[in-house]
């Protein structure tokens, strides 16, 4: 039979080699397309089957797991009796049930505990954490953290973060420089949330960039995590070689209004990278650094457009009134629309008697287009 099959294939190949070239190409194309379709369908079926099995298992196990959590945590008799959560004991027979030894069941258990933790804090939240530790689920999460699959690593990081389980620096810090951007972002977020004393230590060793979207996520975590120690970010502004770390620190400096960081930010005005410089100028403006005004006006003419615009904005934010004349000159004599607009906005932002008189004078003497710009900038609905 085997010989017959080989013979058949051999004859088919002979027939195939006698065909014209374009027919041969078409046949190969058809064969590849059919194989690819079959492969795709097999893969979809396999995934659907796995999903179906998981859902079926979940439907069967969910009530058992929820009952365990209800009895051991929610309805625990020791809750609300001034007993420390660490001293509360679980029913050993219930938590050492054979069912909870299967990896798939343990994963569902972890997922359910996390869902509960998202809804409850306080004693109940702490008791959920204790159940996670006492059932040794923490080891499952750490095992996942040691795998090579990046999706599994991220899942482990989320689990450990949600359960507030500290991860050693030797394990977490290398992940903050992972080549995979998703792992990098997840581990940085985990580091901030888990390391209460030095949540920004990974900035010291960060060699990979912090992407803009990751900065947003991290900013949200930093500003919403309770009991986080906020350091003086000027430390990284002065010494970090990672540009994204410095720009992110500049944003944090302005958010936390760290006035002591002004000298370090001023140093950045001498940097050659103009994007970097514009971030520093923006930060100085938001800090209201009056000490920087003179320097900003001095370097203005040698700056590219993005930095010039940031300088004009900064003068409006600082609003000391010392450089109103400079802003007026820029508004009246610049050929660039953005420069004019920002100069006008900065004059308005001063909101002093002098600035109001200056605006009136401009409106009386300048051309119609400039008057239109001023009126547009005076519109309170346009955010500055």
């Amino acid at each position: 039979m085997w010989n017959d099959l080989v013979d058949l294939l051999f004859r088919a190949y002979e027939q195939f080699s006698l065909l014209p070239l374009f027919i041969e190409i078409a046949l190969i194309f058809i064969f590849v397309a059919i194989m690819a379709t079959l492969l795709a369908y097999t893969s979809i079926l396999f995934r659907r089957y796995n999903g179906y099995v998981y859902q079926k298992r979940l439907a069967h196990l969910s009530p058992v797991i929820e009952d365990l959590i209800t009895e051991q945590v929610l309805l625990n008799e020791s809750l609300g009796k001034d007993i420390m959560v660490d001293e509360i004991e679980f029913d050993q027979q219930a938590i050492s049930n054979k069912l909870f030894r299967k990896p798939a069941v343990r994963q569902i258990l972890i997922d359910t505990l996390i869902r509960y933790r998202k809804n409850f804090r306080g004693e109940v939240g702490e008791l959920l954490r204790k159940l996670y530790i006492d059932m040794n689920l923490v080891e499952d999460s750490f095992a996942k953290l040691r795998t090579f699959k990046w999706e599994t690593k991220i899942k482990a990081l989320v689990e450990l973060t949600q359960m507030d389980i500290p991860i050693s620096d030797s394990m977490l810090l290398p992940l903050t420089n992972s080549r995979n951007p998703t792992v990098r972002a997840a581990s940085r977020n985990a580091y901030i949330q888990l390391s209460k004393n030095e949540p920004f230590k990974f900035f010291d060793v960060a060699t990979e960039p912090i992407l803009p979207w990751d900065q947003l996520e991290m900013f949200k975590i930093i500003t919403t995590t309770k009991d986080i120690t906020i350091p003086n970010f000027s430390r990284w502004v002065s010494y970090s070689n990672n540009k994204s770390v410095v720009t992110f620190c500049l944003k944090l400096i302005s958010h936390y209004d760290q006035q002591s960081a002004i000298p370090a930010v001023l140093e950045l005005l001498n940097t050659k990278d103009h994007h970097f410089r514009s971030h520093a100028i923006n930060c100085l403006g938001k800090l209201g650094a009056e000490v920087a005004e003179e320097k900003l006006v001095t370097i203005y003419t040698s700056q590219p457009l993005n930095c010039q615009i940031e300088i004009l904005k900064a003068l409006g934010r600082i609003a000391s009134g010392k450089h109103l004349e400079f802003l007026k000159q820029e508004f009246l004599f610049s050929n660039n629309f953005d420069v004019q607009m920002n100069a006008a906005r900065s004059i308005i932002k001063h909101n002093s008697q002098h600035s109001r008189l200056m605006l009136n004078e401009i409106m009386e003497t300048t051309n119609e287009e400039n008057q239109l710009i001023v009126r547009h900038c005076q519109n309170p609905l346009i955010k500055y």
């Binding site: 929820e66 929610l74 609300g80 869902r115 409850f120 306080g122 004693e123």
Partner: protein, 133 residues
């Protein structure tokens, strides 16, 4: 035994609150969306309604508004429980007539205390009205 209606689309939260409140002697009825909640509210008067803000079919604000506009349920104690923390939504909930607000993740003990306080306030108000009459 005070009647409490809990409205939340998260079945875990719903089950957990039900268990906690049952343990403390409350009679708890649950609904997973606004539509189901309205059907329950049309037939029964509850002492307290605990509602999430993000709900399918009708959101929590609509539930609060409807409770306050209905003569039968005007005096129900309403606690809004949500992970939405923006001031505008919270203010809107209070403007519509919510009595209390809890941000998720919640503390079970705090929820119980607030429920008891609302029920006590409601009872003292009823006593005051009766005496006045």
């Amino acid at each position: 035994m005070p009647n409490i209606l809990v409205i939340d689309d998260d079945d875990i939260m719903l089950k957990a609150i039900k268990n906690i409140l049952n343990k403390d002697g409350f009679n708890v009825v649950t609904a997973t969306d606004g539509k189901e909640a309205f059907e329950l509210l049309d037939h029964t008067v509850y002492d307290i309604v605990i509602t999430d803000l993000m709900l399918p079919h009708a959101n929590g604000l609509e539930v609060v508004g409807r409770l306050r506009h209905n003569e039968m349920s005007r005096n129900v104690g309403i606690i809004v429980v949500s992970s939405v923390g923006n001031e505008e939504t919270i203010t809107e909930a209070f403007r519509l007539g919510a009595d209390d607000y809890l941000k998720k993740p919640i503390m079970a003990g705090e929820l119980l205390m607030r429920i008891r306080k609302l029920i006590a306030n409601k009872n003292s108000k009823t006593q005051f009205v009766t005496k006045k009459k």
